[in-house]
């Protein structure tokens, strides 16, 4: 073949295609460009569509794109979370597009049970908290970050020991007496999780399902509300490395009115003289060294000649802490990952207490093909905790004349200096130094799911998850660190394996103006646990050096293993329908069966329905441009509670002992009365809500009213003792929680200085509606205070005598209605029924542990590269039974507090402030059962102040960083309490909350001081 022919052929071809070539040169344009956000950061994965040529592309990991298009084409740029932008091409060869963030919160996606939903179409009371710098508020527990941020979600830090869990109550709890009031925690779809395993750095968002219509999809366990924690997942793009390091120290906020040595001696003399006077003694006899005065009424000279120890300050000290967190995320189109690790080391302000935690997480998503997605989550976490052997009260009440430690390293006791009257307790520092109490826990959560697209809009998702928890507890006390000079030791361990399988079929479709989605699911859960415990025969340790039980004789009576299990089978369905995004309807049905109930009553049904009307979408509203959003909601739902023992419906035989021939022998007795008809406790809740957005949602407002009735209470009802038992777990009674919640968010300032305020308010009223035929039930503790369940009143109200002054003298004792046996100096009580004597009929309700109103406010400021966030929380109307006061009033001649002794009645001539009765252990009977120790626990606290500085981007980039923020944070910066409040912590209840009919919520004897925590931190992204 000749070259000539070839040339001709090329030429012909060229000519033949010429018109086409000409057209190309006129219309086709190769353009390149970059998409960035408002902060000049490149945006990855932005979809670019050419509507004319029907072509498109996406931006790469640097935000760049290249596309062949034509001059007349329009390009649409879109990315989730950003406003779409359309650009004409014209002649420009390159293009930089800035996408604006879609700030409209209405299109925010919220996580609901078994799915997500646009916030605008939510019909229930759901609150969302996004993790914006929450991980940079260093707290031992992630729940604490929620304090004051969500309306109706009360997070109270009842104890301050390192690692101790706060108490969460949503809308007053589930209204339960015996079956618990805590919300259900769902971590990445796994119900029954716990915050203790969650690292705040991993959290993407926290959603709270407050009303029953949203919680009903978790039917069986949703009565206390549901908290859904969603962790971060990888996104397509280059690896993103995040390092968050912080450290600082905690300072206990203690009392500053302890009596020093001289004052203490003076008060001790005064106190002893009064006691001596009570028994008719002659107080002119010298207080020490005179045999005419009985020894129990003397005062040792050691009190003024010996040490001057402030035990509170000796036992508490500034405690350092440090947190290290590292995470990396990223991925390709098909595989995305998020992996993190955390190390946490928190020292307690109380000597020899600390908390350490080591955790890791891996979240991997795999797109196998167009229709199959797999996901894997793995989250091991190990914690180790050293705890105090005693409550604060047993430590700080020690008298000041005892030195902390002797020069030879031994620990003196109060009675080394003064044989009588004074506490026989061991030196508190010996308690702390001589006790070795460790708790270890290893929890591994693993979950895998597969999701298959079956058809357009139809998807099935199946998951298998496990939570494997091991915990051990080791306790050892040296001879010198014990209460009675005998070394003791125990060891116990527990294992729980929780298995869950869930299968959810979901369908979603849009036709014309209708949106419809639905789910149908089945869930199977089983938990098995095994626990074992051993103990040493007291005093059998060979020495104080080896703390493990191989150094002692094992006590058979303390040795045991046991196993237990429970299972839950659930089926559920939900439909959601919206017309024109204006009329929205949602309904669900769940049925659960629990192994914990009697054979015929295992199944419970939990329906819900809710509607919403987006008024702002109506034509007639369009003219009101200031109203950007208005939605009315109404819902009803039913939820359940099964938090009781695993085999409580059976009459159980338990072990006990007898000693025939003085040899220990097992005995067996029936310990509970079975109830084969035991079934679900149910909560029915109505909710009416309003969402309002004004001025392009610069101001948003949410209001909710709810009423929830919990009935068929799992209630340990009292029964005639002639059955052989005093109580019987049954379904009886009803409790109501009713309240309102308001949330207001306002972008006060925009521009260089931004200021956003979020305010929330919640008011809950609890009421006993039914007690199974009784009108009231009382539980009275050993010092006479009663906790009352009475129809029409909040549950567990304090019930006792109302103190109206102090009996000043014998004359007054003779002429005033008194509690039989009262003496001058005892409280004077209100004779409520006017029968001229004080009898149990004169007892009245003295308040309640529940706050009447809770307020929260968060202010966020930013200016240039600085940001500041202040979280304030206030609680109003709660009362505390601050029983610990009595230990500081002199009656055991322990440490005394000026504010508690100075107003006391001492004698007719030294009557004090007329309110504070004389204090004596012999007289406690006469005031423990009254309003004397009931204190107002209202408070206003600046829970957190967080101040940050972000390095300007060009500087960060020079350091090869994407972002770099320095921050400082102060927790519990400031708190105001009632001037007559004497506790360390207005939320510090030591006897727990409501947990059975004999609960004593609000009782405080020994809660720890709150800590003010100062932090410096650094957050770097690469």
């Amino acid at each position: 073949m000749s070259t000539k022919w070839l040339k001709t052929k090329i030429l012909i071809s060229l000519l033949a295609t010429y018109p086409c070539l000409g057209q190309l040169s006129a219309q086709i344009l190769r353009i390149q460009g970059k998409v960035i956000d408002e902060k000049q950061q490149p945006l990855i994965g932005v979809s670019i569509k050419d509507t004319l040529n029907k072509t498109g592309t996406t931006t790469d990991s640097n935000g760049n794109f290249m596309l062949s298009t034509s001059k007349t084409a329009h390009l649409i740029f879109s990315l989730v979370g950003y406003l779409n932008q359309t650009r004409e091409i014209g002649n420009q060869p390159s293009l930089t597009v800035t996408l604006k963030e879609d700030i409209s919160t209405l299109d925010e996606v919220v996580v609901i049970g078994y799915g997500t939903m646009k916030k605008s179409s939510v019909t229930a009371a759901v609150t969302k908290l996004e993790n914006k710098n929450l991980d940079q508020i260093p707290l031992a527990r992630p729940e604490a970050a929620l304090q004051g941020r969500l309306a109706g979600v009360n997070v109270s830090q009842t104890r301050s020991a390192p690692g101790s869990a706060p108490l969460i109550r949503i809308r007053g709890g589930s209204g339960s007496i015996d079956a618990g009031n805590s919300p259900l925690v769902v971590v990445d779809g796994f119900p029954g999780g716990s915050f203790s395993n969650v690292n705040m750095n991993d959290v993407a968002s926290i959603e709270v399902l407050k009303d029953a219509s949203s919680a009903a999809i978790y039917g069986s366990r949703g009565a206390g509300g549901v908290i859904i924690i969603t962790t971060k997942r990888g996104k397509t793009g280059k690896p993103l490395l995040n390092i968050n390091i912080n450290g600082g120290f905690a300072n206990a906020i203690g009392h500053n009115d302890w009596l020093g040595k001289d004052e203490y001696y003076e008060y001790a003399v005064k106190y002893q003289n009064r006691e001596y006077n009570y028994v008719g003694g002659d107080t002119s006899i010298p207080v020490w060294g005179d045999n005419r005065r009985p020894p129990q009424y003397q005062v040792s000279d050691a009190l003024r000649n010996n040490a001057n120890t402030n035990w509170q300050n000796a036992l508490l000290s500034a405690a350092p802490f440090q947190n290290y967190d590292l995470s990396v995320s990223g991925g390709t189109e098909n595989v995305k990952y998020y992996a993190s690790a955390i190390v946490k080391d928190v020292q307690g302000t109380l000597k020899n207490t600390w908390f350490k935690s080591y955790g890791a997480r891996a979240n991997v998503d795999v797109k196998v093909n167009k229709s199959i997605n797999l996901g894997l989550m793995l989250n091991p976490n190990y914690t180790r905790n050293r705890v105090s052997p005693h409550a604060m009260i047993d430590l700080v009440k020690y008298p000041p004349f005892v030195p902390v430690q002797n020069a030879d390293g031994t620990y003196p006791k109060a009675r080394d200096f003064w044989g009588l009257v004074v506490s026989g307790q061991t030196n508190p520092m010996a308690f702390l130094d001589g006790s070795f109490y460790f708790d270890d826990a290893m929890t591994t959560i693993g979950e895998m799911f597969a999701s298959i697209d079956l058809a357009k809009g139809l998807k099935i998702r199946s998951s298998v998850g496990t939570t494997i928890a091991y915990s051990t507890s080791d306790r050892f006390r040296t001879t010198w660190g014990s209460t009675n000079g005998i070394s003791t030791g125990t060891a116990s361990d527990a294992r729980t394996i929780n298995l869950l399988n869930e299968n959810v079929l979901s369908y979603t479709t849009d036709f014309n103006d209708n949106h419809f989605d639905a789910i149908l699911g089945a869930s199977y859960q089983k938990a098995t646990s095994r626990s074992s415990a051993m103990g040493a025969v007291p005093g059998s340790f060979n020495n104080d050096i080896i703390h493990t039980l191989n150094n002692a004789i094992i006590d058979p009576a303390q040795t045991r293993t046991s196993k237990t299990e429970w299972g839950l089978v659930s089926y559920f369905s939900r439909i959601h329908y919206a017309y024109k995004d204006k009329y929205i309807l949602s309904a669900s049905m769940r049925t659960d069966a629990s192994s914990r109930f009697g054979p015929d009553n295992k199944w419970g049904w939990f329906p819900s329905a809710s509607v919403a009307w987006r008024v702002s979408q109506e034509e007639f509203m369009k003219s009101l441009s200031s109203i950007s959003d208005l939605k009315l909601r109404a819902s009803y739902g039913s939820t359940g509670n099964f938090n009781i023992g695993n085999f409580d419906f059976l009459g159980q035989i338990g072990n006990t002992y007898y000693s025939p021939n003085n040899e220990l022998a097992n005995a067996q007795v029936q310990t509970t009365l079975g109830n084969p008809s035991l079934s679900w406790e149910k909560t029915h809740e109505y909710d009416l809500g309003l969402d309002l957005g004004l001025f392009q949602n610069r101001l948003t407002f949410t209001a909710d009213y709810y009423r929830k009735n919990t009935s068929s209470l799992l209630y340990n009802v009292s029964i005639p003792a002639i059955t052989g038992f005093t109580s019987w777990l049954t379904n009886i009674g009803e409790i109501r929680n009713e309240g309102i919640e308001l949330e207001l968010t306002s972008q006060n300032l925009k521009g260089p200085l931004t200021w956003t305020t979020s305010f929330n308010l919640a008011r809950n009223r609890n009421k006993v509606v039914d007690l199974g035929g009784l009108t009231e039930r009382l539980y009275t503790d050993r010092f006479g205070m009663s906790w009352l369940l009475r129809l029409g009143e909040p549950m567990f109200s304090y019930y006792g005598y109302n103190a109206i002054g102090v009996l000043q003298n014998q004359e007054e004792v003779n002429n005033t209605p008194i509690l039989s046996g009262s003496k001058p100096g005892n409280p004077k009580y209100e004779d409520v029924n006017g029968d001229k004597r004080i009898t149990p009929e004169d007892r009245v309700i003295l308040g309640n542990y529940m706050p009447k109103m809770i307020l929260g406010m968060v202010n966020d400021f930013s200016w240039k590269n600085f940001d500041l966030s202040i979280a304030i929380q206030a609680s109003l109307g709660a009362k505390m039974y601050n029983f610990e006061n009595q230990y500081y009033q002199g009656n055991v001649l322990g440490a005394m507090r000026r504010s508690l002794v100075e107003g006391q009645w001492w004698s007719e001539n030294d009557p004090g402030d007329g309110k504070m009765p004389a204090s004596a252990l012999s007289q406690l009977e006469f005031q423990g059962n009254s309003s004397v120790y009931i204190e107002n626990a209202s408070f206003l606290a600046v829970r957190n102040l967080n101040f940050g500085y972000t390095l300007p981007e060009h500087l960060a980039n020079k350091l090869k960083m994407k972002r770099c923020r320095f921050y400082t944070s102060i927790n519990n910066l400031f708190m105001i309490t009632d001037k007559n409040f004497h506790g360390y912590n207005p939320e510090g209840y030591t006897a727990g909350e409501v947990d059975g009919i004999n609960s004593t919520p609000g009782y405080n004897s020994g809660s720890e001081p709150m800590n003010r925590i100062f932090t410096l931190g650094l957050n770097v992204n690469f």
């Binding site: 026989g424 196993k563 237990t564 192994s595 009459g651």
Partner: protein
Amino acid sequence: MKTTLYTILLSSVIILSGCHDSLLNPTPESVLTESNYYNTSNDINLAVLGIYNRLQSRKPSDYQILEVPTDNLYLSANTLIEGTPEMDMLSVNATNPLIASFWEASYNGIFRANAVVTNIDKPTDYKEGERAQFDGEAKFMRALFYFDLVRLFGAVPKVTSILSVQEAVNIGRSPENEIFALIIADLEAAVNQLPSKAAIDNGRANKAAAMGLLIKVYVYLQQWDKAKIELDRFFGEFGSSFSLLNDFGALWKIASENNQEVLFSLNYIDGSNGHNLSTAFLPNSGVIGIASRGNEIALPSWSLHKKYLEDDTRKKATITEWWIPPNTPNVPAIWYPYVNKYAVPHTQGQSGLDLPILRYADIVLMNAEVLSHLGQYQEGLNEINKIRERAFGNSDHNYSIADINGEDSFLELLFLERQLEFAYENERWFDLKRSGNFEKIMVEEERLFNYASQQPVKIALKPQAYMMLFPIPQRQIDQSTTGVLTQNEGYN
């Protein structure tokens, strides 16, 4: 494709439903239930021990309602137990927690006994004599619980079977005579079925104990002839097995706690299965050689204290007057009287000292009482003198017929002797009541004795006849159908 998927889906749902049973009906691995119990003789044996366990745990606090309200004991300021101040001041009302828990513990004991009696025929593997023994033990214990209840409350609900809650709310009080009839029937069954003390483990019921208790029941019923018949039967059968221990103090020592004077006692083990009674009365700072801490709940009343003659060995074995604080052992002892009857060296709160329920001294003094009611004063005095000779170590303090002037003064001596002999053994409350002197004696109680001034602190009280029965616990009245459980007179 779609059909296949739906089939898979549907079949998996069916397969999963199959696991419902394993999820919803797990077998309790570590808990026995009423449905799989009481099947073997060993089950019944363990259940019988469970009845003793109930009394074993109740007994150490009985003093709070049987001694505190009497002239034997008064509350210290040191440890407060809810409900005791009202006992101490004779102002008990129906909400008193001590009587509430006494009632509950006693009926729980009765329930445990009823469970044994009801299920006694279920096992088929009894060895010879076992069935009779277990049945006898259960009935003995049931009688003991009812005897306490009827003496404290009068008419009480009679329960001899396992009750449902629905049945229980409609059961009212049975008259005292019906309760006593049940007690007597149970004790007679126990006498017929129980082996002798030597033939059964110590700490378990035996024939002599059942007979002794039957005597006591007739004494309380004032059926002196029947009591005499039972006494004669007792002496005939067991006269040689039981006798007074020479040393009164040895009754309260662990080494000699099981002796020829004890008919029946509850057994305890120091540290692992102990009681609080050895700790309860000790001074708070403890006592050298006994325990490092005491609870000092109550102290001996001078009203009793002063009645002990100096050479009565029971005084030293009941009350210690001069106390040496353990941390200042070298200073002179101080006047600090405390009850030492149960003060053996012990682990705090976990004493191993056995607590006698019935001892031979009681049989002797009941014999004296019965004889006097039958007009045999000299024979009666002889019995009292046996107790006094043991107490004083000689016959110098024996009573003669010249010391008495008819039945009343005989009984005065008898009840004084009972007070001194059984102080803090929970007899005083009943004896105050039985003697008819409750209202007379309890008008005033001498409590703390100020050694410096040699003056006792006197407390005026207002005893009234109705107080001799405690109120039916309000909680029980509230739990029953309205009107079913009536309150004792004086408490409404």
